[in-house]
């Protein structure tokens, strides 16, 4: 009668999908992601990088040579982010700043710094955190200074051009399993995917796991459980519930990812992403397969545990306390993984990649950002699958006796005793 498994699943899904909290949460997250998806474009627009250059004032006639250099530098840029505006005196500059006509203005002090005889330049603005404009000015001044010194040298224009040309520099990760190493872009995408996947797994476990446990406890405390366990075998009920919740969770994630990706691939966004060196097609398909596998494995490992815990608690109020150990376990796994993003080959990682409760996080992370040996992956996956089966089996047993035990939360001893009595 796999029919009843399907009945439990569809009942779980129907109620979940209809619940207001689910609809609202999905909608809110989708809106956030749509905003997030358009963020590159918005930053580009709002940051003033493309459209409007920030106006920077200077006093007419002062350090004309440097100002000329600056003007030349910005004139050469395809999209200058600074526009220089001349004012007759420093007092008027201050006025202009106060009125908002300029974002800031430059002043020069005569005491030269260093040997070049280059004056000290101060950028005056309303806020000390004008990072973008200040760094742009720094680069411009550096160039102006270099040019003012080079002007007197005997270098040819060609040599000068060579001097100013940026060096070609690229990082490449060496891969031992694949024939070719990953390029920097692929590496960047791998880190991003790893990061997203770890956060998604963590959220899936925390949210769906809690949801499953809460629902089972609620069924118990409302005593509807007594009718259900006499209608369908507890095992089918447990798996129906886990699978039903899982399908809903996947559906939710699919909606969210679709919202994000659809917006990221819009022409105005994808151009900007490309200019940052991000290309969605740089994701290694094998990494995606691993992402899906570890996501599923992590989900089922924790979901069965949450189901077992939910089944032994009689009242919803007691649930938080009861699931605390699992919550902590998830948190530890999550934080180790976040820590490991920077040090994927540390000893901690090497040990944790084999511990079943952490391996969905850690092993995936290492596959993403480091190069674990094939045997490491195989061993980790093997341990993980074995422990899912073992924990699923144990959880089913606990569930079988747990759903019929009322009163205070039973101790391990009592559960074992009940298992013997119920012959499960």
């Amino acid at each position: 009668m796999n029919n009843s498994l399907w009945t439990v699943m569809s009942f779980t899904m129907r109620n979940k999908l209809r619940s207001k909290s689910f609809i609202i949460m999905t909608a809110v997250l989708a809106v956030l992601l749509i905003i997030g998806g358009n963020l590159p474009y918005l930053i580009d627009k709002l940051g003033g990088g493309g459209g409007q250059a920030s106006k920077v004032g200077f006093a007419q006639g002062e350090q004309a040579q440097i100002v000329d250099g600056l003007a030349k530098y910005y004139a050469a840029l395809p999209e200058p982010d600074v526009e220089l505006v001349a004012y007759p005196s420093e007092a008027e500059l201050k006025n202009a700043l106060e009125n908002g006509d300029v974002k800031g203005y430059l002043t020069f002090s005569e005491d030269a710094v260093g040997a070049g005889g280059f004056p000290k330049v101060t950028y005056n603005s309303k806020s000390a955190f004008e990072g973008g404009t200040a760094s742009s000015l720094t680069a411009a001044l550096q160039q102006a200074k270099t040019e003012s010194i080079l002007k007197d040298s005997s270098l040819t224009d060609e040599q000068k051009a060579q001097l100013f040309a940026p060096v070609a520099f690229e990082t490449q990760k060496v891969s031992f399993t694949n024939e070719e190493g990953k390029t920097e872009e692929e590496q960047g995408m791998a880190v991003a995917l790893t990061y997203i996947m770890i956060i998604m797994l963590f959220m899936a476990v925390m949210i769906t796991g809690q949801l499953i446990a809460t629902e089972i406890t609620a069924e118990k405390s409302s005593r509807v459980m007594e009718i259900i366990v006499t209608s369908v075998s507890p095992l089918k009920q447990m798996w129906g519930k886990i699978l039903g919740t899982f399908v809903v969770a996947i559906l939710q994630i699919a909606i969210l990812i679709a919202a994000l990706v659809a917006n990221l691939t819009l022409p105005h966004n994808s151009d900007i992403l490309k200019s940052f060196g991000i290309n969605l097609s740089d994701i290694d398909p094998l990494l995606l397969v691993f992402a899906i596998f570890f996501y599923l494995a992590g989900f089922f490992l924790y979901a069965t545990l949450f189901a077992a815990i939910g089944s032994i608690v009689s009242r919803t109020e007691d649930l938080g306390q009861a699931v605390m150990p699992i919550t902590l376990l998830t948190l530890v796994g999550f934080y180790i993984a976040i820590f490991g993003l920077n040090q994927p080959d540390s000893n901690l990682m090497l040990v944790c990649q084999f511990i079943p409760f952490f391996s969905p996080f850690i092993m995936f992370l290492r596959i993403g950002v480091a190069e674990p040996a094939v045997w490491e992956i195989a061993l980790s996956v093997g341990i993980l699958i074995a422990s899912i089966l073992a924990i699923g089996w144990l959880s089913a047993k606990i569930y079988r006796v747990g759903v019929l035990m009322y009163g205070k939360r039973p101790s391990v001893k009592e559960i074992v005793k009940a298992m013997k009595a119920y012959k499960v």
Binding site: M1, T7, I228, T230
Partner: protein, 301 residues
């Protein structure tokens, strides 16, 4: 063939024996009473019948067949602790439970509408359970137990918490089920319901079946100990009649006598008629309540 056969079932919880060698049979169209004080083993017995736990010894047969997943669809259960999903519509959860027991959604829907009509609450179809009163939730719960036309229905304290009108309504529904050929195992503390509904009973005490059989025969086994007699005037010298142990004078006329032998009744009647016209004379058979208290109380010692 009897619908339900329970044959010497034994269940131990660790050291403690919860049910000790209990046997009984329920035929089609019969309501069987399962009585006992709290903790006597009734719930364990019902859980074994429902297949939630397996008996350590003995066996249970449903229409002659042992327990299997297929038997689930012929069982209906109304648990003592009532509960439904509070935030889910009546129709959704009843249909869900019916489907779990192997019914098609369409049949279940037709059945549900019929039952709601019967209880005169068709408007509850689209209501959430938490919006209903306690009594009406009970009706819904009852529907959940019988929606799939089970052959065996287990009712644990079916009428508790209901007002007298609804008790009568549910009682007549239970009788209809019985007349339709359903076998019902009925557990309650309300002896008057048992006397009204059940043909055979088992009284359990501390895991043991202490008294079993048809109610009529059980009552015969207990001496008729009470005689009520009343006349228009006073009746003198009742306590001098041989066999009368105690005389209680009722406030509104009449006497209640405790007797030690059944033939004392005839002597009391003659004695009373000699003194004037008798308006009331009754030899009372023991109530089930008395039998229960006596049985369970005696075994205490």
């Amino acid at each position: 063939m009897n619908t339900l056969q329970v044959d010497r079932i034994v269940k131990n919880y660790g050291e403690k024996r919860a049910v000790n060698s209990l046997s009984f049979e329920v035929s089609p169209g019969e309501i069987y009473g399962l009585l006992g004080a709290n903790g006597a083993g009734k719930t364990t017995t019902m859980r074994m019948i429902l297949g939630l736990i397996l008996p350590d010894e003995g066996n249970i047969r449903y229409l002659g067949k042992p327990y299997s997943q297929e038997q689930l669809s012929m069982l209906g259960y109304l648990p003592e602790e009532r509960g439904m999903y509070p935030k889910i519509k009546v129709s959704d959860q009843i249909l869900y439970l019916a489907q779990l027991r192997g019914m098609s959604r369409k049949d279940a829907d037709a059945n549900l509408k019929r039952w709601l009509e019967k209880f005169q609450v068709p408007e509850y179809y689209n209501k959430k359970v938490e919006e209903l009163s306690k009594g009406n939730q009970q009706k819904i719960q009852f529907i959940a137990a019988v929606i799939h036309n089970p052959k065996i229905v287990i009712l644990d304290e079916a009428f508790s918490g209901l007002d007298p009108v609804n008790v009568e309504l549910l009682k007549s529904t239970v009788k209809e089920l019985r007349d339709g050929g359903t076998s019902i195992v009925f557990s309650t503390h309300r002896m008057e319901h048992v006397e009204e509904l059940c043909r055979n009973i088992t009284i359990m005490h501390k895991s043991n079946p202490v008294l079993q059989g048809p109610i009529k025969e059980i009552k015969k086994r207990f001496p008729q100990e009470r005689v009520i007699v009343a006349s228009e005037g006073k009746i003198e010298g009742l306590d001098a009649i041989p066999g009368v142990d105690k005389v209680i004078v009722h406030e509104h006329g009449g006497y209640e006598l405790k007797v030690s032998s059944p033939d004392a009744g005839q002597r009391i009647l003659q004695h009373a008629m000699a003194q004037g016209p008798v308006t009331k004379f009754e030899i009372k058979e023991p109530t089930l309540n008395e039998i229960f208290i006596k049985t369970v109380g005696e075994s205490h010692e």
